[in-house]
């Protein structure tokens, strides 16, 4: 094979290789949202209430225990499931029953859920129940919101403060 021809072939091969490298390093473009959509993230890190309510330990019982184990309240380990629901206008955009984790169902759950929604003005409704012994929503949040396209709105249930916040 003569040299110039081989040079041309190599040039073509390298060009093709680099075109491939370049193309797939940025394309095809990934559409995370449509142009007129926004993203809502619902998140929490929360432990449900005890399934059986804790009872106060009596003085006699406390005295029977070694000093380092004297807890004023005695509780069973199992926690309640956490029921969550997010509604945008009349549409339920997220609904979940988060079962407690752990072998003894004694741990909390973490949620991080992305939800694509249409941009614009909406009535947001969020509610949560973390106690099996109570029917219906325990914590409720309602707010009019306006979402710009590509906006990211976080709805967080704050475990310490026991309330929803949005930011």
């Amino acid at each position: 094979m003569n040299k110039p021809l081989r040079f041309i072939l190599q040039f073509l091969n390298y060009s093709l290789f680099m075109a491939l490298v370049w193309y797939f390093s940025i394309s095809p473009v990934y559409h995370q949202l449509d142009e007129d959509q926004a993203m809502i993230t619902f998140t929490l890190g929360h432990v449900g209430k005890h399934v059986t309510p804790c009872v106060k330990t009596s003085q006699e019982e406390l005295l029977k225990l070694p000093p380092n184990m004297r807890k004023p309240m005695s509780c069973t380990r199992e926690r309640s499931p956490i029921v969550m629901k997010i509604q945008l206008d009349d549409m339920v955009i997220f609904e979940k029953v988060g079962l407690p984790k752990g072998l003894y169902k004694d741990q909390g759950i973490d949620v991080y859920q992305n939800i694509r929604v249409p941009a614009g003005s909406h009535r947001l409704l969020a509610w949560l129940n973390d106690d099996v012994n109570v029917e219906g929503p325990i914590y409720k949040y309602e707010q009019d919101i306006t979402l710009k396209p590509e906006q990211h709105l976080v709805i967080e249930f704050q475990s310490d403060a026991h309330k929803f916040t949005i930011y």
């Binding site: 081989r6 290789f17 797939f24 990934y30 949202l33 991080y112």
Partner: protein
């Protein structure tokens, strides 16, 4: 002609194209492992440069990358682009490297180890790329951080949620610094360690491609870096979710799957593919011949076989049989590929020895001992008729040459051309062959890695045991062909016959038999 599966046929056609374009020595498909190493070197050097200017804090990272990309485009910008594009190019060469080993059935049997250890290296490369994209701390980085964390959260590894670290209320420097540490030090060290294991069972492994190929690839990367410099997205902002992202599909390909599947399913898919790939060498297992055997009575401990073994299966130890030599060789059966190259390395494989009795050599293949090969050669030669008596010595792993048999052409098969003792060629010529035609794998593509190379060096008297000067080179032809090169093989053999006829005519005319090759 034997059946060639379509994947192999297609692959060999691609190889032919690259042989035409680059020549056999520079053929990128014959250098995929070393080419990947080369891209890693580019990544390493460019990465060191980027590290000088990179700010490893969450607040400073983006600005420092922007500074390099725009204010220092001629140095930092080019380095950044080289860093990105060489990483991407490496993924292509790794995938091709894997595909090649698969298409040519070079992943089972004794090769299981290289294949099995290769799969995790692919993971290490991909995760290294992922943390790289994280460090830019642009919109893409935030996406990568969140999606990666969602995947991590699906594993029962850490009790707390990793994803919740990326809420505006939680975000902090510490996680980012951990990523910087992983990308800049932890992961590269793990990768190089994994690669060291990957090639541990191979001898004479090169970690640099031929110079021409390295230069060509570097120029190509540089031109791409200048034409299309790597750039960032906008700075990461927890308040917005960009509708469009320019994903690097070489590294971030599984993330969009999270839009459709839960993280658990994505894990099942990726781990399933990984386990399947790792199990491939046993699906089904490849049958292998018995390992080479050492015959100490004929071994003088010259160590040539240990030097030539492509798979480091022969070790040298102190003599155990009380003979006057200092050392002897031992074959590690589990490492032996049964290629027979050691038989070709052994001086004792000389067929001129023990002509009246069985030929025993220092190291031999039990399934095809050198004594049988000498007998086959003699019998074949004694049956040849006609003008140009040719004996073909061919390798079993390249073209099927059994069809070449004819009244004046005999064939003897070897596991590899490296198994042919040079003295056997001389022997065949002495015992009545007008020509010896050696055929094996394509140049640069020996099935047993070094067979072609050792044969060439022995014939060129540069490696022991040499083909002695007295062997008439004009009567020896080496032709290398893959399974699909039947026409070329026939053509080459015809030309060799023609050449031998001419030699004869010259000799009868009193002209000395000097080769025109």
């Amino acid at each position: 002609m034997s059946f060639i599966n379509p994947v192999k046929r297609g692959y060999l056609a691609l190889e032919t194209w690259f042989n035409i374009s680059f020549g056999n020595v520079w053929n990128p498909l014959y250098n995929l492992g070393t080419l990947t190493f080369f891209f890693f070197w580019v990544v390493l050097v460019s990465g060191l440069y980027l590290f000088i200017f990179f700010d490893t804090s969450l607040t400073g990272a983006y600005a420092s990358v922007e500074y390099m990309t725009h204010d220092q485009w001629y140095a930092g910008g080019v380095m950044r682009s080289l860093h990105r594009y060489a990483s991407d190019a490496a993924v292509i060469t790794i995938i091709l490297h894997m595909f090649r080993e698969f298409a040519l059935d070079r992943y089972r049997g004794f090769r299981w180890f290289s294949w099995f250890t290769g799969v995790p290296t692919l993971w290490f490369v991909i995760t290294l790329g992922i943390t790289g994209y994280w460090l830019v701390w642009d919109e893409l980085a935030l996406y990568v951080a969140i999606q990666s964390s969602q995947l991590m959260d699906a594993l029962p590894l850490i009790p707390a949620s990793m994803t919740r670290n990326f809420l505006a209320s939680q975000i902090n420097d510490r996680f980012f610094t951990l990523m910087a540490f992983l990308h800049l030090l932890g992961q590269p060290v793990i990768l190089f360690f994994a690669l060291w294991i990957h090639v541990k069972r191979l001898s004479d492994v090169s970690i640099l491609p031929p110079r021409g190929l390295a230069v060509g690839s570097f120029i190509a990367l540089l031109v791409l870096s200048l034409l299309e410099p790597a750039v960032s997205h906008d700075i990461a902002d927890t308040q917005s979710t960009p509708a469009m992202l320019n994903l690097d599909w070489f590294y971030l390909n599984i993330y969009p799957l999270l839009d459709y599947w839960t993280a658990g399913y994505v894990w099942v898919l990726t781990l399933g593919i990984t386990v399947f790939l790792m199990m491939m060498p046993w699906l089904p297992k490849k049958k292998m011949g018995p390992a080479a055997e050492v015959h100490l009575d004929e071994c003088n401990g010259c160590e040539q076989c240990a030097k030539d073994c492509p798979f480091d299966a022969i070790t040298v130890q102190k003599r155990t049989d009380g003979a006057r030599w200092e050392t002897e060789v031992v074959v590690q059966e589990s490492l032996c590929a049964a290629c027979g190259i050691c038989v070709g390395s052994c001086h004792s494989s000389n067929p001129f020895r023990h002509s009246q009795q069985d030929l025993v050599t220092g190291i031999d293949m039990p399934q095809s001992p050198i004594n049988d090969i000498r007998n086959q050669t003699e019998t074949a030669l004694s049956k040849l008729q006609g003008e140009n008596k040719i004996i073909v010595f061919g390798c079993d792993n390249a073209i099927d040459f059994s069809d070449l048999k004819s009244p004046n052409i005999a064939v003897v098969s070897f596991f590899c051309v490296g198994m042919i003792p040079p003295t056997l060629v001389e022997y065949a010529l002495k015992k009545g062959a007008d020509g010896v035609f050696v055929t094996g794998c394509r140049t640069g593509d020996c099935y047993f890695r070094h067979g072609n190379k050792w044969l060439d060096e022995r014939f060129a008297t540069k490696r022991q045991p040499i083909l002695r000067k007295r062997a008439d080179r004009a009567r020896i032809n080496i032709f290398r062909a893959a399974e699909t090169d039947c026409k070329q093989l026939k053509r080459e053999l015809d030309q060799f016959q023609h050449h031998l006829t001419q030699l004869k005519q010259n000799e009868t005319a009193g002209v000395s038999g000097v080769s025109d090759e």
